[in-house]
């Protein structure tokens, strides 16, 4: 209960920071508050975007959280996500001869494999050479953006657009993830993502794997002493994290954007997923709650920015403040428990 109060306080601080900016820039505070809290549920666009963000955050943060259990920081979810978005179109363009349902699955699988491949390098370097995964995953984020640019300017570029205009063709309706109920813009990606979270909950939180991963995360010496295969735990958690981030690339493209351009490169969902994983305390279901909350706040804040003429990057500043507040709350709470 106390933890909840602290978290609410932290979120309040973040919101205050955002409102301060709005007021300073001459925006109307009533408009700001109403768009922040009501826009995510008021319009069909709001509902759609909130759930898209939820799916992005939950899918990627599950992987980040899993790796974090084993003490590994996957700062590269953004790069793996981009590799996934690119692979959706690689499959779509180069496997076009396949019949519809097979190609549909191939696109999703392709994205997952893309994310998996993208994290293979840091995984091998970490497990075989002991190279720091933070450094390598950060480097690969930059490489992913350049790789994406290259793919967009040639191999998966739409043939119809002018030279130097990097964008793919739009996926036809057959390859879009449909809404569950007619006109309500919530796609099948939402229940699918929740299902993945629940499955992971049973596979991770309810089996000895949780203890194994936590032991590796807390002390490799203890893990070695307990006879846990450290390379195995590290490889499983890292590869799963990459695959999930890649999968998020597929749901983003097939469930929302339908075409890839450089706009998707600057989304930063991969970084926000790290906050979500931390706020959800690395718990496979807790991350789901955190993901929904951050999806709501992120869309609300973006909407507030638009309504009050403040640049939408204010969201990052607000979430930075919230993140420190939440960490601080966790810390104070644990200290109180310990005392």
């Amino acid at each position: 209960m106390r933890a909840t109060a602290f978290n609410a306080l932290a979120v309040g601080l973040g919101i205050l920071a955002g409102l301060a900016v709005v007021v300073y820039a001459g925006g109307n505070i009533g408009v700001a508050l109403s768009s922040l809290f009501l826009d995510p549920i008021k319009s069909s666009t709001g509902i759609q975007q909130t759930f898209v963000l939820f799916v992005m955050f939950y899918t990627m943060a599950l992987g980040v959280g899993l790796a974090l259990k084993a003490g590994l920081w996957n700062i590269g979810a953004q790069g793996q996500f981009l590799a996934g978005t690119v692979m959706v179109f690689v499959a779509y363009v180069y496997l076009k001869f396949l019949p519809w349902p097979i190609l549909y699955v191939a696109m999703i699988l392709g994205a997952t494999i893309g994310g998996l491949l993208w994290i293979t390098v840091p995984t091998i370097l970490r497990v075989k050479f002991g190279a720091n995964e933070i450094v390598v995953t950060i480097l690969l984020n930059v490489v992913a953006i350049n790789f994406g640019f290259y793919m967009l300017s040639g191999p998966i570029k739409s043939p119809g657009t002018a030279l130097g205009f990097p964008i793919t063709t739009q996926l036809p309706a057959l390859f879009q993830i449909p809404n569950i109920i007619g006109s309500i813009p919530i796609t099948y990606a939402v229940p699918a993502t929740i299902a993945i979270g629940v499955i992971l909950y049973f596979l991770v939180e309810r089996t000895p794997f949780r203890v194994k991963a936590n032991t590796v995360g807390e002390s490799t010496e203890t893990a070695r002493y307990a006879g846990i295969s450290i390379p195995r735990v590290m490889t499983i958690t890292m590869l799963t994290a990459g695959a999930l981030a890649g999968l998020a690339g597929a749901t983003y493209m097939m469930g929302y954007r339908y075409e890839l351009d450089i706009g998707s490169f600057s989304t930063n969902y991969g970084l926000l997923a790290i906050i979500v994983a931390l706020v959800g305390r690395k718990h496979m279901l807790g991350i789901g709650v955190a993901a929904f909350f951050f999806a709501y706040i992120t869309f609300g804040a973006e909407s507030m920015a638009v309504a009050t003429n403040v640049n939408s990057v204010v969201v990052f500043a607000m979430e930075g403040v919230m993140m420190i507040g939440i960490l601080m709350g966790n810390y104070l709470n644990e200290r109180r428990k310990a005392a």
Partner: protein
């Protein structure tokens, strides 16, 4: 049309020398910080805030030195926030670093937009080359002497950092609190204070790096303008095994690869336009390829990322 090889060499070396100082300031700051056991991965957030401060103060006063001073002020304030949460409150360093990065990423543009709502700004006044008269002298003038004073200072900083960590008693204490804070504490070293100082020094250097970015990398501010270059510093000091001179080598070779591919693209022009982004990946792939070579030996300070609790 063929371009004389000497022109290419001049351009490549001059670009290398112009860009490397950014990584050297950042690198020396992060080395000192991490040697004390505190990894600041929010460095790019601090750089962004310092960069925007630099631009605004420079635009308003026309004096780059005042801009430097202001950017240092910004850096030290954010650095103190980082230090408080990660050292005093003992929160997870990576998490606090990410929060600082996100904050800087968002807030830098907000500040810029508030200062210049229309986006129109005065011209940026950069530091002059210190040996302006030598600009036309081949090799010496066109490569070595055309940089501004900060570029030369960055090399001095590498030497000083090496001496500081290796030869001074404060340097020894910095390393001690990163390797074995308990023992250092028993010897009477104030672990928290030393870590604070090291982290603040790091933040100051990120401020200088942010200042250096203006003029040498970009002439105006945009969102996310540093685009991951600050994070690259983390990779460089890792390959350099937290040592100043190898970091100098890493920065120079990384930027040489960057300058080479850049020069190649600009000479080859449209014939490689479609694959130019593949060439842009080269410096990063080069760094990655160094990992199995140098990363094996790399040994982080033993208590890096670990908060210290007295008693």
């Amino acid at each position: 049309m063929t371009v004389p090889l000497s022109d290419v060499a001049t351009a490549v070396l001059s670009t290398t020398l112009q860009l490397s100082p950014f990584y050297l300031f950042g690198g020396m700051g992060e080395i000192v910080s991490e040697k004390s056991g505190v990894a600041n991965i929010g460095l790019e957030g601090i750089m962004l805030m310092s960069l925007v401060t630099t631009f605004i103060v420079d635009y308003e006063t026309g004096n780059p030195w005042l801009a430097l001073l202001a950017s240092l002020g910004t850096a030290v304030v954010i650095g103190a926030v980082f230090a408080f949460f990660s050292i005093q409150a003992r929160l997870d360093q990576i998490a606090v670093g990410l929060a600082i990065y996100l904050f800087g990423l968002g807030f830098s543009l907000i500040v810029f937009n508030i200062a210049y709502p229309s986006g129109l700004t005065p011209n940026y006044v950069s530091l002059p080359p210190i040996f302006a008269g030598w600009g036309t002298v081949p090799v010496i003038g066109t490569i070595l002497l055309k940089q501004n004073v900060m570029a030369y200072l960055s090399i001095v900083l590498v030497v000083l950092t090496s001496l500081f960590l290796g030869r001074t008693s404060l340097g020894l204490r910095v390393r001690a609190v990163g390797e074995n804070p308990k023992a250092a504490d028993n010897m009477g070293v104030n672990v928290t204070k030393v870590r604070f100082l090291a982290t603040l020094f790091g933040a100051l250097m990120f401020g200088v790096a942010g200042f250096y970015f203006a003029g040498n990398f970009v002439s105006g501010f945009q969102t996310n303008i540093i685009a991951g270059k600050g994070f690259i510093v983390l990779a460089m000091i890792y390959f350099a095994n937290w040592k100043p001179y190898p970091t100098l080598f890493a920065a120079l070779s990384f930027n040489m690869v960057y300058a080479l591919q850049n020069e190649y693209i600009s000479i080859a022009g449209s014939t490689v336009a479609s694959v130019s982004t593949l060439f842009n990946m080269l410096p990063y792939v080069f760094l990655l390829a160094l990992i199995p070579v140098f990363g094996r030996k790399a040994r982080a300070p033993k208590f890096l990322l670990k908060p210290y609790r007295k008693g």
